[in-house]
């Protein structure tokens, strides 16, 4: 098998001089992950802000009342007073405020006699408005509770009777934010995606491109076995796919170093990972890369031209990426608990990565996908070798 080294070095040098590959396979994953971190981090902060301080409009059609005053000073709300309901609703439609609370004339009297009603106007098309309504409802509910508790105490009864049953949630998950959870959902998808798409351009060029340009013929007249030529090209492609994956991971590290929004929560998730977790992640990624590189090279070896290879690889990309996309939502469905899922290629790797990042890793979630990926890699590479042994490697009729 001598000759693998020179072939690998030749391919690697050519890859590194191909600007399309460098940008598409190495720069894009890094940038995309940074973008995702900022997006999810920003989204998380925005949601937190929206939940902490919802802008609402207050319209007092009668005299000032205690509830309106309490709402205006509630820390969850940022209230703005409007002279009329029409003005407040115009602000709501513009999106300046999330909801309008209108206190009708005689509201203070109704508070004493009972049956007081506050009209809450919101826009169901606007998610922020729905959130605003929910926060306002919670604040009003708390005010109601405080009022009832005060009346019970006035009647020499225990204030606790105002709230006979309480629901106290306990979260067993690590103390991480929504941004990190979002990223944990996204990261396996991104890693799987770049393991495949990172190698598409290179794969199409490695065999189909050389076939088209006539350089494969030149290479095959060298006194080395065709197995060596195939292996040299395969290893170069494995390197590209692996680097593309690592660029995704590099994006996360860079985000943490730059203290981008969302990276703090992510650091908490990464922080609880131990050596076993990282070895498991490495096994999953490396076996996946070996398989994808073999599959990509097989398609390129089969294709007559570079264009044909790119067409096949684009279609194959959809087939590969669909399970990865599915991995993001499957845990919300009953299918996610089905043990057969661990045998579905790509999906099992993405789910294994997700479990590893969440610290919920099981042996089967690593071993089965890794062995399956290695098996598929062997099959794919055997197909490549078979094609290289045939005359069709130069020109298929």
């Amino acid at each position: 098998m001598n000759g693998i080294g020179p072939i690998f070095r030749k391919e690697w040098r050519e890859v590194m001089r191909d600007r399309r590959v460098v940008i598409g396979a190495f720069v894009m994953p890094l940038v995309l992950v940074l973008f995702m971190v900022v997006l999810f981090g920003g989204l998380n902060q925005s949601v937190k802000k929206a939940q902490v301080q919802v802008k609402i409009g207050l319209v007092n059609e009668g005299e000032p009342n205690l509830i309106a005053t309490a709402l205006a000073t509630a820390k969850e709300l940022r209230a703005t007073n409007y002279a009329t309901t029409a003005l407040a609703q115009a602000a709501l439609k513009k999106g300046d405020i999330a909801a309008v609370l209108t206190f009708p004339a005689g509201f203070s009297q109704q508070l004493v006699t009972g049956g007081a009603q506050v009209r809450a106007t919101f826009d169901s098309r606007n998610p922020r408005s729905s959130i605003g309504l929910g926060v306002a409802r919670e604040v009003v509910s708390q005010l109601n509770l405080a009022s009832v508790r005060a009346r019970f105490i006035t009647l020499n009864l225990s204030g606790e009777l105002a709230e006979p049953v309480r629901l106290r949630p306990y979260d067993v998950a690590e103390k991480t934010g929504a941004a990190a959870m979002g990223l944990v959902g996204m990261l396996p998808y991104l890693i799987v995606m770049w393991a495949f798409y990172g190698g598409v351009g290179t794969a199409a060029d490695l065999v189909a491109g050389e076939k088209e340009r006539g350089t494969l013929e030149t290479l095959l007249t060298a006194p080395v076995s065709r197995q060596s030529v195939a292996m040299g090209k395969y290893l170069a492609l494995v390197g590209v796919c692996a680097l593309s994956c690592l660029a995704s991971v590099g994006g996360i590290i860079l985000a943490a170093l730059l203290r981008m929004p969302g990276s703090t929560d992510l650091a908490a998730i990464v922080g609880h990972s131990n050596l076993v977790t990282w070895l498991s992640i490495a096994a999953l990624i490396f076996s996946l890369v070996l398989w994808f590189a073999a599959a990509l090279l097989a398609v390129s070896s089969w294709a007559r031209t570079m264009r044909e290879a790119q067409t096949y690889l684009t279609v194959a990309g959809f087939i590969v990426i669909m399970p990865a996309v599915f991995s993001q939502v499957i845990s919300f469905t009953e299918l996610g608990a089905n043990p057969a899922i661990v045998w579905v290629p790509v999906l099992n790797t993405a789910m294994g990565l997700r479990e590893a990042l969440l610290g919920q890793l099981t042996l089967g979630a690593v071993v089965i996908p890794s062995l399956q990926n290695l098996g598929l890699a062997v099959l794919g590479y055997a197909f490549v070798l078979r094609l290289f042994q045939q005359e069709a490697i130069l020109r298929r009729n």
Binding site: G5, T218, T221, V224, E391, N397
Partner: protein, 249 residues
């Protein structure tokens, strides 16, 4: 030395019907001589050369290069020959020097020996002005010179040229022909596939006319001209393949 004995090769055509590219082709190319393989496009020249270069295998017959069987000893055959085609296929994102280094390593050359060999070829083929530029930026003639250097790098006893002057300007074609003459002078076996009759007249010691996959005639250019009662090699070739006015239309 190159020997071809009763080579036959059939391909599946575009409509899946078999197309016989070579039919019972036999010839011998001796050291220190240029053996020309003449034929029109599609005559089977390239198929024959590809069999000798171990890129494809014959359906029937045996071929050998320096005594090595092309079907059973392909690595030894490839070590014994240099193959230059007219398509001047060079690796676009490598420089000529890098490409030569790669092929030198594939041929088992290393270190100072490889370096000296590359520099000798760079000097001899006048590659120095563009030896460190990417091959994608080279002209067709420059690429062809790189291809010749690549084929000569391991100092093979047999050289196969497949239409080496195709697409080259007059000056570069002249350089290539001079190079082939030098190679012959050095005692190597040269197999030249061409349909440029002036090249045949100038370079070939012996020729085989290949037509529709069969060898129609073998002999020295003078003998072929005499046997067809022709003044030129072109006329002799056309008479050998049975050309009649309007045949190629």
């Amino acid at each position: 030395m190159i020997r071809a004995d009763h080579l036959t090769k059939t391909f599946a055509g575009t409509d899946r019907h078999p197309v016989a590219a070579l039919k019972d082709v036999s010839f011998t190319a001796e050291p220190g001589r240029v053996f020309g393989l003449l034929g029109v496009n599609g005559a089977g020249k390239t198929t024959c050369l590809r069999i000798l270069a171990t890129l494809i295998t014959p359906d029937q017959g045996v071929a050998s290069v320096q005594g090595y069987n092309v079907a059973t000893q392909p690595t030894e055959v490839r070590r014994s020959l240099g193959f230059v085609s007219g398509s001047t296929a060079v690796f676009g994102r490598l420089t000529p020097r890098e490409m030569l280094a790669c092929f030198g390593q594939l041929n088992g050359l290393q270190g100072a020996v490889l370096g000296d060999r590359i520099e000798a070829l760079v000097d001899r083929l006048n590659l120095a002005p563009f030896a460190d530029r990417l091959c994608d930026q080279l002209s067709t003639g420059q690429k062809q010179r790189v291809s010749i250097a690549r084929a000569m790098l391991h100092d093979p006893p047999v050289l196969i040229f497949d239409e080496p002057t195709s697409g080259l300007d007059v000056v570069t074609a002249q350089t290539v022909m001079e190079w082939i003459e030098d190679v012959r002078e050095a005692g190597r076996t040269v197999l030249l596939s061409t349909h440029v009759m002036s090249e045949v007249d100038r370079l070939c010691d012996e020729v085989a006319v290949l037509h529709e996959g069969r060898i129609c005639a073998v002999g020295t250019p003078e003998a072929l001209r005499a046997s067809t009662d022709s003044r030129t090699m072109e006329e002799s070739f056309l008479r050998t393949i049975g050309y009649q006015r309007g045949m190629g239309e």
